[in-house]
């Protein structure tokens, strides 16, 4: 190993870091002349540089060698990792563009830099198969996201959400770190590939199980599985909209892929079984219980929400529950189902939060009432939102349908003697409930009249001056959701092929 080799393999991360510093400098040089809002031109330049940097990083990933491993798995280049690093970069790219359309935050340069640093964290998470690096990635992502959540200083809810996210995030991290140290103590290694065989060799002491549970907590926190979901509604509601979108998309994708790797590569021998009539201790029953809990709590509480962002947060809890099904099923098929679902979910949520951002900019709020009559004001936004929400509800032929079908079918196939039927039935029931609250939002958008009739000027403003680029982005995202539903084979085949 030479430093040059390291630089070559870590070039994508390095590019994003450099971009972050460039964006930071742009913000510092030009941004603070006037008090208050960052000038629009600067914000535009910053966003342009950020987007460019992300695109270059993605291009660099494509040019990396197919397989490479450095430092016992601390930096792993594989088709799977590369694919998901590109996906995360694309999500960050959309987030940057949609953040442009948002109400100008103070210190826009710093905000963009934090997005980029969070992206680096996600790339580290995805690109390592070693506990130490995974933890560093987890922390880098977490810290950046805490800051981004609290970024809107004019808003109390933003500050409060940031603090809560931070406190509970640190708590979860502490548990994870403790768990990792126990795992290390029992296996003498931090490399996932080496942990698996060690675990298979020995009879498993209870303390090891404690270690496994504690390790999982940090990730369960990140994917907002019940009962570790309490931060999510506050964060989704209080954070700047683009941050909420990024937490719901990029952070989730990376968390699921790492969780999958830890469980299937590292903890594979202690998976246990969650079959209805044959529970075997291990991590599978834990995940099954949490998945069931998430599906129930998420969907039921979402039913009575009056704020669209909170509703999306609770539905995110439920979707986290569905996505866990693939990991519970295990194996390549289960993992690929989880990855496919979390990817399309991420794309959908970035889009949905994009629409929320527009509405918030226009009406100053994101309660259900603020969406009233959106169809009349902007058919484009209303149409996109309909596609996103119906996909979340799992209506064919949108991507959400195939995603669920894939997940549920793998889960049903996995358990011996249809042991997971109970969980699949519960998940289907949950998605039935979810349709109800998504329809409530759509009804408000399409049928209700706007109560506090916006003045004509504002409406003009909304339609005409609203950025062209973010709207095109939304259209692209909606198109992707439709396309991934009609020809899901392309992405699934890619994921499966990347397992090698």
């Amino acid at each position: 190993m030479s430093y040059l080799e390291l630089l070559r393999l870590a070039a994508p991360e390095a590019i994003v870091v450099l971009t972050a510093f460039v964006v930071l400098t742009i913000g510092l040089v030009t941004g603070r002349r006037e008090a208050g809002d960052t000038p629009a031109a600067t914000a535009g330049l910053g966003a342009l540089v950020a987007a460019l940097g992300l695109a270059i990083a993605a291009a660099t990933i494509v040019r990396l060698p197919g397989h490479a491993t450095l430092f016992h798995g601390m930096l792993v280049v594989s088709p799977l990792n590369s694919l998901f690093q590109v996906i995360v970069l694309v999500l960050a790219f959309f987030t940057v563009i949609l953040a442009r359309g948002e109400r100008l935050l103070p210190n826009k340069g710093e905000y963009l830099a934090m997005i980029l640093l969070a992206t680096v964290g996600l790339m580290l998470l995805i690109g390592s198969e070693e506990l130490l690096m995974i933890f560093i990635g987890l922390e880098l992502t977490g810290l950046s996201l805490y800051v981004m959540t609290a970024f809107d200083k004019a808003s109390q809810t933003s500050a409060e959400a940031g603090l809560k996210y931070f406190l509970f995030g640190s708590m979860a991290s502490a548990f994870t770190l403790f768990g990792l140290s126990l795992i290390y103590g029992f296996t003498g290694t931090t490399s996932l590939a080496a942990i698996g065989p060690r675990l298979a060799e020995q009879a498993l002491p209870p303390l090891l199980f404690v270690g496994i549970v504690m390790t999982l907590i940090g990730f369960l926190f990140k994917i907002a599985a019940a009962p570790f979901h309490l931060w999510a509604p506050d964060a989704y509601q209080g954070a700047p909209v683009s941050t909420a979108g990024f937490i719901a998309s990029g952070s989730k994708v990376a968390s699921f892929i790492v969780l999958g790797k830890i469980l299937l590569i590292g903890f594979g021998p202690v998976s246990g079984s969650a079959d209805w009539h044959g529970l075997i201790a291990g991590w599978t029953p834990i995940l099954a219980v949490l998945s069931a809990l998430s599906i129930l709590i998420g969907n039921l509480v979402a039913l009575v929400q009056k704020n669209v962002r909170r509703l999306l947060a609770y539905s995110a809890v439920a979707h986290g529950g569905y996505t866990l099904l693939g990991l519970i099923a295990g194996g390549r098929a289960g993992f690929s189902a989880t990855l496919f679902y979390t990817t399309i979910y991420a794309v959908t949520l970035v889009g949905a939060f994009g629409v929320v951002g527009f509405v918030r900019r226009e009406n100053g709020g994101d309660d259900l009432a603020d969406f009233a009559g959106l169809r009349a004001r902007s058919p484009l936004l209303a149409g996109c939102m309909a596609i996103f929400l119906l996909s979340l509800a799992g209506l064919p032929p949108l991507a959400g349908f195939f995603g669920k079908f894939y997940l549920f079918s793998t889960a049903l196939r996995a358990g011996a003697n249809h042991g997971l039927l109970w969980l699949v039935a519960l998940a289907l029931f949950g998605s039935l409930i979810s349709l109800y609250y998504y329809l409530i939002v759509l009804k408000v958008i399409f049928l209700d009249e706007n109560a506090q009739a916006t003045p004509a000027v504002a409406r003009y403003d909304f339609e005409m001056r609203a950025d062209y680029l973010p709207k095109m982005t939304l259209l692209v995202l909606a198109g992707a959701v439709l396309l991934l539903g009609i020809i899901p084979g392309t992405l699934v085949a890619r994921i499966l092929a990347s397992f090698g």
Partner: protein
């Protein structure tokens, strides 16, 4: 070329929808003609397919996840789907033409015809699908288009509400359907109908599993074909435009459930337990709906309940393990029920959207063509000898007589009720004196609307004769003709007609009031209360949690959002965070204990 025909038939309506949505939205009349042309094109293709006896087209692989599952994009062309294709496009074409007249002045005409095209595409998809996944996708798409068309006049709250109700009720059924599909797939390892049929041995080895799977698949049909207890959406769906009621909620979509059951007949027939349940669900639906129909005043609602009741007959036939009898009735019913709805539409159109039969009267003289064709439809529906309904209903009755006497008794009773309420409808609406100013001034509808009536009355009249029907589907063969069945059927018919005549001749108001029937056995109230109380309970729980965890949170005494450690310290003292922390810790403990002590 011939292998492309079914694809053309399927995709023409889709193309029409896209053209209307993207190009001709503002040109309303052109949009209408595009849609009509598309469905006529599909009809021609269907005729060619039908008479050339084209067989299955090559399947393309759509989703290939080889070891797990693969879904082909294939069409199935067997006698069943060929005749269904012919029927759907035929009735569809007639109703499209009729819509030209009925919706001529509607502002949302483009949207309406785009919706109809989408529906035709989805419905043909169900008919042609050769695997469960495709069928389910089109199944949902049919639901969406039905949602859009019921809610066509969305400014009316009742229409919007009805659309939502239909959608959600259907999804409840589909929840079971999806689970059933997954179970069948797990059991047999395939999603393609022919392969499942070949691999049935794997399923029959586990009878209880098979029964569960078959019943779950049946759930889909319960939703789509509006069977008890999910029947509540269909009457409300009458808020949509009348041609929609005729096409979707009488002739085609609601029959899709029955069609699906027949398509997977090999699955259903393999489980006697499932058959039993299906037969009784059908019977209950038939009787209940007929009872409800006797006390309705809205002409479309009477027909809607009658549709429910007839669907009950079809499901009953499926449950009695005779898909052929079910399909026979499905065909004749499609013709005469579409005819009846279009006749009702003609009346409603000329009476300026008057739907109450007690505000009609004397229409026989003013709308002669409508009256005559409506009469043909009625005679077919009540099973008057010689008309189509007589043969198909007789087939089901004979079947019931042979397999289960209690079901036969209920079926015969339903036939009596059918004769009763239809006679009531005809007598009140068409005879006597006009009971409202609109009814007194009504005149015959334009030719574009009466022509479809005349066209449809032909199959409604003669569709049941063997020489005619045999061309279109394989008729159920009665093993040993029983004299008792037609005699009892005729007796029921006579009692029904005569009692209704005696009761309703020259009446101007309803002589009998049965609240239970009029209020549809209070099913809607029951469901509404159930949903309301559930939601209320949830809201109460959520409010409690909010008070406990969230509300304490509103950061007190914080000025203008300045940040700093002072703020942080104050926030730490708020009870909210501790409650969060408590729950978080509880979760961790729960997990650890669950793992360690399990």
């Amino acid at each position: 070329m011939t292998s492309l025909l079914p694809w053309i038939a399927l995709l023409l309506p889709l193309a029409s929808m896209f053209v209307i949505l993207l190009a001709t939205r503002s040109l309303r009349t052109l949009s209408a003609f595009i849609s009509v042309a598309a469905v006529l094109g599909s009809f021609v293709c269907s005729c060619l397919i039908f008479f050339q006896q084209t067989s299955a087209a090559a399947a393309i692989c759509w989703i290939d996840l080889a070891p797990l599952f693969s879904v082909p994009l294939g069409l199935t062309l067997d006698p069943l789907s060929r005749s269904m294709l012919f029927m759907v496009t035929g009735v569809g074409a007639v109703i499209h033409i009729y819509s030209l007249g009925y919706m001529s002045a509607d502002a949302g005409k483009s949207r309406y015809f785009a919706g109809l095209s989408l529906f035709m595409f989805a419905m043909l998809g169900i008919v042609l699908a050769n695997n469960f996944v495709m069928m389910f996708i089109f199944w949902e798409l049919v639901g969406v288009s039905s949602y859009l068309l019921i809610g066509h006049w969305f400014e009316r709250p009742a229409a919007a509400e009805a659309a939502k109700k239909a959608f959600i009720t259907n999804r409840i059924g589909d929840f079971g359907f999806m689970l059933g599909i997954l179970m069948v797939w797990t059991g047999t390892g395939s999603l393609v109908f022919t392969e499942i049929a070949a691999g049935m041995a794997k399923l029959t080895a586990h009878p209880s599993y098979l029964t569960a799977a078959a019943l779950l698949v049946f759930c889909g049909a319960v939703g789509k074909s509006a069977q008890f207890p999910l029947h509540v959406w269909l009457p409300d769906a009458m808020e949509g435009p009348t041609p929609v009621s005729a096409l979707i909620h009488a002739a085609t979509m609601v029959a899709a459930g029955v069609y699906m059951l027949v398509r997977v007949g090999f699955l259903i027939d393999a489980s006697s337990g499932a058959l039993h349940v299906i037969a009784w669900i059908g019977t209950i639906t038939a009787v209940l709906a007929a009872l409800m129909a006797t006390q309705q005043n809205d002409i479309k609602r009477i027909l809607a309940y009658s549709t429910l009741s007839q669907l009950g007959y079809m499901v009953m036939a499926v449950g009695l393990a005779s898909g052929q009898a079910a399909m026979f009735h499905l065909f004749t019913h499609a013709a005469f029920k579409a005819l009846l709805f279009l006749g009702a539409g003609s009346i409603i159109y000329m009476l300026h959207h008057e739907q109450d039969i007690w505000r009609m009267g004397g229409l026989a003289k003013r709308l002669p063509i409508t009256f005559l064709t409506f009469l043909v439809g009625t005679l077919a529906l009540i099973g008057f000898p010689g008309f189509s309904g007589f043969f198909s209903k007789d087939a089901i009755l004979a079947l019931a007589y042979e397999r289960s006497l209690p079901i036969f008794a209920f079926a015969a009773f339903t036939a009596l009720l059918t004769a009763f309420y239809m006679t009531r409808l005809v007598v009140v609406a068409f005879f006597g004196d006009a009971r409202s100013p609109h009814a007194a001034r009504g005149a015959e509808s334009p030719i574009v609307m009466t022509l479809p009536l005349i066209l449809l009355s032909v199959p409604a009249a003669i569709g049941g004769f063997g020489f005619f029907a045999r061309n279109f589907l394989s008729l159920p063969n009665e093993t040993k003709p029983v004299v008792a069945v037609p005699v009892i059927a005729l007796l029921a018919l006579l009692i029904g007609v005569v009692s209704a005549l005696l009761l309703y001749r020259n009446r101007t108001t309803e002589p009998v009031e049965i609240e239970l029937f009029r209020n549809r056995f209070y099913f809607d109230e029951l469901y509404t209360a159930l949903i309301k109380s559930t939601q209320g309970l949830l809201a109460a729980i959520a409010a409690f949690i909010d008070r406990w965890i969230l509300d304490g949170a509103i950061v007190r005494g914080l000025s203008g959002g300045t940040w700093g450690s002072g703020f942080l310290l104050r926030l730490l003292q708020v009870g909210n965070l501790q409650a969060y922390g408590f729950l978080f810790g509880l979760g961790i403990i729960g997990l650890i204990y669950f793992t360690v002590f399990h």
